[in-house]
């Protein structure tokens, strides 16, 4: 879109946010009572539900590992989530790739050696897609895992960043994601500052990499503060009731 202004001369984005400003984040923990852990997360207009089942028995012998739990992840998008109707909710290449990437991320974050010979199922569904699907999914899965009581090294917080007019822009919406700049999605363990999920799409010059990465990590720290507050509130509420 040639006329679309990603960053106005005053430094505001198309939806009125500042470059480092995140969208409004709201979360409903234990959204699905059937599952062991679940969370409904909404960041701007992107809505995601994540559920966790487990730890439970493995369904196939090949999945059993003697020293750690087997993590299984499935990422799917509802057919009505995107503006153009999606023919298949899951099973296409990009969904499979995202499922694999999320699985590897959480293998690094969950303390898998506490549950040998067992399996943890993580399912994510995008109800409405408005940019940063993967980042919001990671945040939702973190909340669902905490709700399920599965021990983790730390929260996994993720944001998406791009670079427009040499300004890093955090937490992208649909149009900014498809904009001219490169896209970087970074997921970190906030306390140690370690990166567990990193995906760069489109061309990012090596000189800009450090700047963009740093902004992403700052964004993650802010997400972490919000998620932590939400968890504590939820805990207070559930203790009182």
């Amino acid at each position: 879109m040639a006329d679309f202004e990603y960053l106005s001369p005053e430094g505001l984005r198309s939806d009125g946010r500042r470059p480092q400003e995140l969208r409004v984040l709201s979360c409903n923990i234990s959204h699905c009572l059937q599952a062991d852990g679940s969370a409904y997360l909404q960041q701007g207009n992107t809505r995601v539900i994540a559920t966790v089942y487990g730890p439970h028995d493995v369904s196939r012998r090949s999945e059993a590992q003697h020293d750690k739990a087997f993590i299984n992840c499935q990422f799917s998008m509802a057919t009505f989530s995107t503006s153009e109707r999606k023919k298949r909710p899951t099973g296409d290449k990009s969904c499979l790739e995202t499922s694999l990437a999320l699985k590897k991320t959480f293998e690094a974050a969950i303390l898998t050696d506490t549950y040998p010979h067992s399996k943890i199922d993580i399912f994510v569904q995008i109800l409405q897609s408005d940019g940063s699907d993967k980042a919001v999914s990671i945040n939702a899965i973190t909340m669902a895992l905490i709700d399920a009581g599965i021990p983790m090294k730390d929260y996994v917080c993720a944001t998406s960043v791009t670079l427009i007019n040499d300004t890093p822009i955090v937490d992208l919406n649909y149009f900014e994601e498809r904009g001219p700049g490169p896209e970087l999605i970074v997921g970190t363990l906030p306390k140690s500052g370690k990166i567990v999920f990193l995906q760069v799409n489109s061309r990012l010059h090596i000189d800009n990499m450090e700047k963009v990465l740093k902004e992403g990590m700052n964004g993650n720290q802010r997400v972490h503060t919000i998620l932590d507050t939400l968890i504590k509130k939820h805990l207070e509420k559930s203790i009182l009731t």
């Binding site: 059937q34 207009n45 369904s59 799917s76 057919t79 009505f80 989530s81 099973g91 199922d121 109800l127």
Partner: protein
């Protein structure tokens, strides 16, 4: 249907409860549970609705797109149903394992809508033989705990009632016809869903039919009867599932019960549609 494993004691408890007309949650055999129906939740769609009935949660999104009509019915639009039993509902639906159940449910819905002629498909035609509106109804089963077919039909009715189809004008004549869609988002028509029926499921436990069975009750029922009922109480479709059998008298009672309940459920839905749409959270 996804199975729920029950012990013998639990089964006998449920059966005795039904005999005494006092089910495990205190309802009688004719009572329907209360459900929550919200519409207009997903903004990317032309219409949407979400139903929550105890632990069953279904989200329906409707998208209207322009496409080619069925060559056998060139003057009519199309409605296509798709049900996705997502893995969120149960690990048993992971990957492609939920596809069978989803296809089954979608098929039942499309049969119901076809047989009852509830929606005026001719009003969805734009240029006969060339272009028409195709209404894609996509249902997503988020939580599964019994009574799925009922909830599905209610949510679809709610979503269709909520659907806004943009108004358009046809310019030109003959082969050079072009379609112009109105830019104004408020300039739209809605679909008339007054005649749309809903499913009422009855489960046979012992010798008695019960309405709106919970997941545990479904697991110990011998057979299920799914009846499609419209707002006038007329029966649009009947489907029997399961290995059990029943006598003619029981069947008659069941059908009249389903008819009554169907009418009251539709009244509740109509009330919901008339109130302002609520957003989730």
């Amino acid at each position: 249907m996804a199975d729920r494993i029950l012990s013998d004691f639990e089964i006998s408890y449920i059966k005795q409860g039904v005999l005494a007309d006092m089910r495990s949650d205190g309802r009688s055999c004719r009572d329907y549970r209360s459900f929550e129906l919200r519409s207009g939740i997903v903004s990317n769609t032309s219409g949407s609705a979400e139903i929550k009935l105890e632990r069953t949660n279904i989200l329906v999104g409707v998208k209207a797109e322009i496409g080619q009509p069925n060559p056998l019915n060139p003057n009519k639009g199309r409605i296509e149903f798709f049900v996705d039993c997502s893995a969120l509902a149960s690990p048993k639906f992971e990957g492609r394992r939920g596809e069978d159940l989803g296809r089954n449910l979608a098929h039942r819905l499309s049969d119901l809508y076809e047989n009852s002629n509830c929606i005026d498909l001719e009003s969805l035609s734009i240029i006969p033989g060339q272009d028409c509106w195709i209404i894609y109804v996509d249902a997503l089963v988020l939580e599964y705990s019994g009574g799925v077919l009922d909830c599905l039909s209610i949510a679809v009715k709610g979503a269709l009632a909520n659907t806004k189809i943009p108004k358009l004008t046809v310019i030109g004549e003959g082969e050079e016809q072009e379609i112009e869609i109105s830019d104004n988002p408020f300039d739209s028509t809605s679909i008339d869903t007054n005649n749309v029926p809903v499913f009422v499921s009855l489960s046979l436990i012992g010798n008695q039919f019960i309405v709106d069975a919970s997941h545990e009750e479904e697991a110990c029922s011998l057979c299920q009867l799914s009846v499609g009922v419209n707002h006038k109480g007329s029966i649009c479709s009947i489907l029997k599932e399961g290995a059990g059998s029943f006598k003619h008298r029981q069947y008659n009672e069941a059908i009249s019960l389903a008819s009554e309940i169907g009418v009251s459920v539709i009244e509740k839905i109509t009330l919901t549609n008339n109130t302002a749409p609520e957003k989730m959270l």
